[in-house]
């Protein structure tokens, strides 16, 4: 479990982090989202003890990384933005070195083999890291973070520079890891975070602008009030029926989907679930509903909304 309380960091006069707080429970995958230069790497470097903060606290399993770094670092595996591999070592030499560096207690051969198999570098174990492709270097970097089976794994943009097949593999690996570890991963690729993370932290210019699950975030933003429906039937007839549905605040007719089917955007009144009434009325009038969905925002839209300040900055406060 990781707790970050009011963390701030100044580089000279530049404020990289301005008091961010969040927490990750055991067995959760937290996505760290933000545009370039938002403070993602800075936060991760502080959590893992690579740099120190100007203010605030970072607790790893309740241990303050600043006060008791040796103890806290024992339960952290970290993959920085650039994998910290020595180009002149072979994969095996490197993993052996990290094994020693982390004062690992597991039986060496079986532990390392397990990790090599998990990240898929068994077939390059004898090769010099310099000659490996970017994707394999990245995997060696992830393998390094897993040595000693740390409870918390921090991955800074783990899929950058990989090809699509590797990205999918790494993502499924992260999901697998998330079952028994606490994982924090940063990314500016939104679909990635949406695909693997339980919770999302959005930061921009060193400030936390959202901390929630992906679904909650999009629900909060849309207020769960918009509905998209495809209805078959004469347009005027459908409009007349819609006017009789009590909970509808406003609606407008969208594109023609096929033949006699049109798309309608409905907006319900607050705290009003119109779905059942809508269904029944349409059914009574022989206007079948072919599709009904809440118009949830994609993460891209959430992200833009959040970072341009339309959400917490504009509407809510």
């Amino acid at each position: 479990m990781i707790e970050v309380q009011n963390l701030s960091k100044n580089y000279g006069s530049r404020e990289a982090l301005r008091g961010i707080s969040f927490s990750v429970e055991d067995g959760e995958i937290l996505g760290f989202l933000g545009p370039n230069g938002a403070g993602k790497s800075t936060t991760m470097n502080i959590i893992t003890g690579c740099i120190t903060q100007t203010g605030g606290k970072a607790l790893i399993n309740g241990i303050n990384i600043l006060e008791n770094p040796m103890e806290a670092k024992k339960s952290i595996g970290y993959l920085p933005e650039i994998p910290p591999v020595y180009p002149d070592m072979t994969v095996d030499e490197y993993l052996n070195f990290v094994y020693g560096l982390k004062k690992c207690k597991f039986p060496k051969n079986s532990h390392l083999e397990e990790i090599r198999t998990l990240v898929g570098i068994e077939d390059v174990r004898k090769r010099v890291i310099r000659n490996l492709s970017k994707g394999y270097k990245q995997r060696v970097g992830i393998a390094q973070a897993l040595i000693g089976n740390p409870q918390t794994i921090v991955l800074d943009e783990p899929t950058v520079g990989l090809d699509p097949k590797q990205i999918i593999e790494i993502r499924s690996l992260i999901k697998k890891l998330g079952k028994n570890h606490t994982v924090i991963l940063s990314s500016h690729i939104l679909s990635e975070v949406q695909a693997v993370c339980d919770k999302i932290v959005v930061i921009d210019k060193g400030k936390l602008i959202a901390f929630d699950t992906a679904e909650n975030l999009s629900r909060k933003l849309t207020g769960d009030r918009k509905l998209t429906v495809h209805i078959e039937g004469d347009c005027d007839k459908v409009e007349n029926i819609l006017k009789t549905v009590s909970g509808i605040d406003a609606f407008h007719v969208g594109r023609t989907v096929e033949g006699n089917v049109k798309e309608y955007e409905l907006e319900a009144r607050e705290n009003c679930d119109i779905r059942r009434e809508l269904f029944n009325k349409m059914a009574q009038n022989d206007c079948p509903i072919l599709l009904m969905k809440g118009s949830e925002l994609t993460l891209e839209e959430i992200f833009l909304k959040l970072t341009t300040g339309d959400f917490y900055g504009g509407n809510e406060q």
Binding site: T48, I51, K74, I76, P84, Y86, M89, F97, G100, L101
Partner: protein
């Protein structure tokens, strides 16, 4: 820390660096041995040690230039920083590894001494072992000081060339106090400078004087530079 020592030593010998260092040391010490002892038939190796002092001054920076500079450039310093190793452990591990390579190089002087002692013994006279041990200790101590100083300089930059040049400069500076003291008339300042003189203390060893004060002086300097290097790393963490 042992992991760091092992990795550093193996990295010296998986690249040409360690071998080139040894070759240069062996080559020059062989040349100086021939000049001082073999050609003249003298059994006094002190001259070899004095000349080697100036070689060591230039080649130890080459050994240490990449210790931290390279790590910073490769981003591998983050690995050590996020592992359960203290900053002192990181610096000391790197210092020990570089010193070990230097020690391997210096051992050749012992081999020379054994051969000369055997040759002198055949001639019916005695090789002065105490003088040799004094010289040898002096060489190791000065090596430790230079190694620690140059590891410290390497921690200041992420450019190997600057680390190497800066280290050579720093080594020369701490050895030229003696020259400066010759130009100073004030007795008190002169005394202080003479006290700080590294080459002067090294010369005592080659002159056959084994002074405990000098040993303490060299070890303290070594400790101080290791400490300074850990402060540099700590400062970078806070920057």
């Amino acid at each position: 820390m042992t992991a760091i020592i092992k990795r550093e030593i193996s990295s010296y010998f998986t690249s040409p660096l360690g071998y080139v260092f040894l070759a240069v040391f062996y080559g020059f010490s062989g040349l100086f041995l021939w000049m001082n002892c073999l050609s003249s038939g003298s059994a006094d190796m002190s001259g070899v040690f004095v000349l080697m002092f100036f070689i060591v001054l230039v080649i130890i920076p080459v050994l240490t230039m990449r210790t931290f500079a390279e790590e910073r450039r490769q981003n591998t310093d983050k690995l050590a920083f996020s592992s359960p190793v203290s900053l002192f452990g990181i610096v000391f591990g790197k210092f020990i590894a570089a010193f070990f390579v230097f020690f391997c190089a210096a051992l050749v002087l012992l081999i020379y001494a054994i051969f000369i002692a055997a040759a002198v013994g055949n001639g019916g006279s005695e090789f002065v072992w105490p003088a040799f041990w004094g010289n040898f200790a002096g060489m190791l101590l000065i090596g430790a000081v230079f190694t620690a100083l140059d590891v410290f300089i390497s921690s200041l930059t992420d450019n190997q060339m600057i680390a190497a040049l800066g280290s050579i400069g720093a080594n020369i500076v701490i050895c030229t106090f003696d020259i400066i003291s010759g130009y100073i008339s004030d007795e008190n300042i002169k005394n202080v400078i003479d006290f700080l003189s590294v080459f002067g203390k090294f010369a005592e060893f080659t002159g056959g004087i084994f002074s405990l004060a000098s040993v303490v002086f060299f070890l303290s300097l070594t400790g101080m530079f290791i400490f300074l290097a850990t402060r540099v790393l700590e400062r970078r963490r806070r920057a």
